[in-house]
């Protein structure tokens, strides 16, 4: 099963705007993606409530997984890349 482990870069963690951008991106993928912290229970990346409940702050390592299939690798790559960016800083600088 393909997976990516990535460190949350946003200053406020997976909260507020960064969480919303991540969930919206996950909803736009063609394949269901799950997210977990450590060995915790995987949560659907398309659920804002589930993502918030991870309690992931800046520096938390999260793991994204998807079932094998067309588009899975690409979906994980793009979502992992999003989490590796400081989305708060991009907002502050007007990006």
């Amino acid at each position: 099963m393909p997976e990516r482990t990535v460190t949350i870069a946003s200053r406020t963690g997976l909260h507020a705007r960064p969480a919303k951008l991540f969930v919206q991106a996950a909803q736009a993928q063609g394949v269901p993606v799950r997210i977990r912290v450590g060995d915790g229970r995987p949560a659907p990346a398309t659920s804002m409530l589930a993502v918030l409940a991870l309690g992931a702050v800046q520096g938390t390592e999260v793991t994204l997984t998807a079932d094998d299939g067309p588009g899975a690798e690409a979906a994980l790559d793009s979502l992992a890349a999003l989490l590796a960016r400081d989305l708060d800083a991009e907002q502050a600088s007007g990006a």
């Binding site: 406020t12 909260h15 507020a16 919303k20 969930v23 909803q27 949560a43 659907p44 398309t46 659920s47 804002m48 409530l49 589930a50 918030l52 409940a53 991870l54 309690g55 702050v57």
Partner: protein, 570 residues
């Protein structure tokens, strides 16, 4: 028939009976309009056996969709960017596929629609609370979604500020800060609450927006939805059984009254020229705004600089904040109150131990018993701001209780070059010894809110005791009279800076008692100025005698209103 019964009749009959509900007038002015009630959170009936699972599922899921759509629509309508972002995030949560999935699981387990939604929101709410920190703060958003969705399932009105599409009088049990984010002053004509007191959030909000308001109004929630009422925020009365034309007439007269008030300017004085300084209560230079017609600042609450801080603001930061205020007041009359922490205003950095009864504990000047350096640094900063601005401020301490405390504070202030030193009178013991306090001090300022709380042994936050906190209580006025007499004897000013000063009719009583200045929030200035300008000093003194003699605040208010009106007509 009691007034509450009158209201019930008004709620159930097509042609409502005329009646008057009485409460506390906490924000002056008159208005009239149709009642819109703010619905409370819906109560879920006991679980029902499900007869038609498909119907329950449709109900539950449609409720969530409606809530999401409604929140998104409100986000689009608001002009406040921050409020819009909050509503949008909340809409996103209501549409959450995870929430929907949990609702579907609950339905599959045999729950009815209401309970399926309720339990699903509770499930996710607990998950957020477990995540802790700022994730846990989002739990309140889920509470709101739960209330909205359950109301939709049960066919009850949407909780929160109503949006009927026409101007209305908002009637609620009480208002919390969160309820008022979207309160649009263009459509809300007046506020009426069943609970609350003179210093409740509703009262403060209403005064800051200049909306007439009546709180602690028993029977308010029984006024019929959509019926026409009049609101008199000065007298504390809500009139029921009006017609649309009556309401229009009241609004027309209220607009005329506002024009008349706007025309009254200049220093405060009675009809025969006795001067009463009219001053402003502020928390920072930002509250001074432009075009405020006051003779100075009667209460500069410095603690707003300290609230929500992990560390005490440094000397330089304090100097800058105080200097900004001293420079911004034309004429330079500013009364600075030193830090008033404690009870309802805890400051983490003070590290004060928890107390079983904080209202009677270490607060105000008493903080010096544990952390003298905090107050000393503040006095240093005020003295430096005075030097830098060339303005000589008046400086007073809160919660002074004995002449000994007054002497100690005065010595500390004078050692730093502060020349006008005073005390707040909030403790009855201090009022009774006002003459002795004035041997040490240059002025007194009476904080009627706390003085009421302590004189009547009634918590300011306690809605059930609001009648005891009525500033027309003769027991309170007698303490004010004692201070004013001491001030006159010593030739030193004695002002009032509590909510009592903002009531135009009570202002004539206070003036009659010998109070030399009245300090209030900006919207109250014009009504007080205008009322004083129409009332002679002799009338004020007669009003003071009436009020001191009355055993019932409502009787005092009514008698003073009638006598004063007769005086104007004569």
């Amino acid at each position: 028939m009691t007034s509450a019964e009158g209201a019930r009749t008004a709620g159930t009959e097509r042609a409502p009976a005329a009646g008057t509900l009485r409460g506390l007038g906490v924000s002056p002015g008159r208005a009239a309009g149709r009642v819109c009630r703010m619905a409370g959170p819906p109560r879920l009936p006991a679980r029902l056996p499900v007869a038609d699972a498909a119907r329950e599922a449709a109900l539950a899921l449609r409720a969530l969709e409606e809530v999401a759509a409604d929140l998104a629509a409100r986000a689009g309508r608001t002009s406040d960017a921050e409020a819009g972002a909050i509503l949008e995030a909340q809409s996103f949560m209501a549409a959450d596929p995870g929430l929907r999935e949990t609702v579907e699981e609950n339905l599959a387990a045999g729950m009815d629609a209401g309970h399926a939604v309720d339990a699903a929101c509770d499930h996710h709410r607990r998950a957020l609370l477990e995540a802790g920190g700022y994730f846990a703060e989002r739990a309140a958003d889920l509470d709101d979604i739960r209330n909205r969705a359950v109301a939709a399932v049960l066919g009850l009105p949407v909780p929160g500020i109503p949006d009927p599409g026409h101007p209305f009088v908002l009637v609620a049990e009480d208002l919390a800060p969160a309820d008022t984010v979207n309160l649009d002053p263009a459509t809300v004509l007046a506020l009426v609450t069943e609970k609350g007191g003179p210093t409740s959030h509703t009262a403060i909000l209403a005064r800051s927006r200049g909306l007439p308001a009546v709180v602690a109004c028993r029977g308010a929630l029984e006024i019929g939805e959509g019926s026409w009422v009049s609101v008199d925020g000065t007298a504390g009365e809500v009139g029921t059984g009006l017609g649309e034309q009556d309401a229009e007439e009241i609004l027309r007269r209220a607009a005329g009254e506002r024009r008349r008030l706007a025309a009254s300017t200049g220093p405060g004085r009675t009809a025969d020229g006795h001067g009463v300084e009219l001053l402003l209560n502020i928390g920072s230079a930002a509250d001074l705004g432009s075009g405020v017609d006051a003779e100075g600042v009667g209460l500069f609450r410095t603690e707003f600089l300290f609230l929500g801080r992990k560390d005490a603001p440094g000397f330089e930061e304090q100097v800058a904040a105080y200097e900004a205020v001293l420079r911004a007041v034309p004429g330079g009359k500013v009364v600075v109150r030193t830090l008033d922490a404690g009870t309802d205003k805890p400051l983490p950095f003070l590290g004060l131990p928890e107390e079983p009864n904080p209202a009677l504990g270490v607060r105000g000047l008493r903080v010096g018993r544990l952390r003298q350096e905090v107050l000393d640094v503040q006095l240093d900063a005020v003295a430096e701001a005075a030097r830098a601005s060339g303005v000589r401020p008046w400086v007073m301490a809160p919660m002074v209780t004995t002449a000994g405390e007054a002497a100690d504070f005065a010595a500390r202030a004078r050692a730093r070059g502060i020349t006008r030193v005073g005390a707040m009178i909030e403790v009855p013991a201090a009022a009774l010894r006002a003459d002795h306090l004035l041997r040490e001090l240059d002025f007194l300022s009476i904080g009627t809110n706390d003085l009421s709380q302590y004189a009547f042994a009634a918590d300011r936050q306690h809605g059930e005791l609001a009648d005891l906190l009525d500033p027309w209580q003769a027991g309170l006025l007698r303490l004010v009279a004692e201070c004013a007499r001491a001030g006159r004897a010593a030739g030193k000013p004695v002002g009032v800076c509590g909510e009592a000063a903002a009531d135009p009719l009570l202002a004539t009583v206070l003036t009659g008692l010998g109070v030399t200045s009245l300090s209030m929030s900006a919207p109250s200035l014009a009504p007080v100025r205008e009322r004083l300008a129409r009332t002679s000093l002799a009338r004020c003194e007669a009003n003071a005698r009436i009020a001191l003699d009355a055993d019932d605040p409502a009787v005092a208010r009514k008698a003073v209103a009638e006598e004063t009106a007769a005086g104007h007509a004569a």
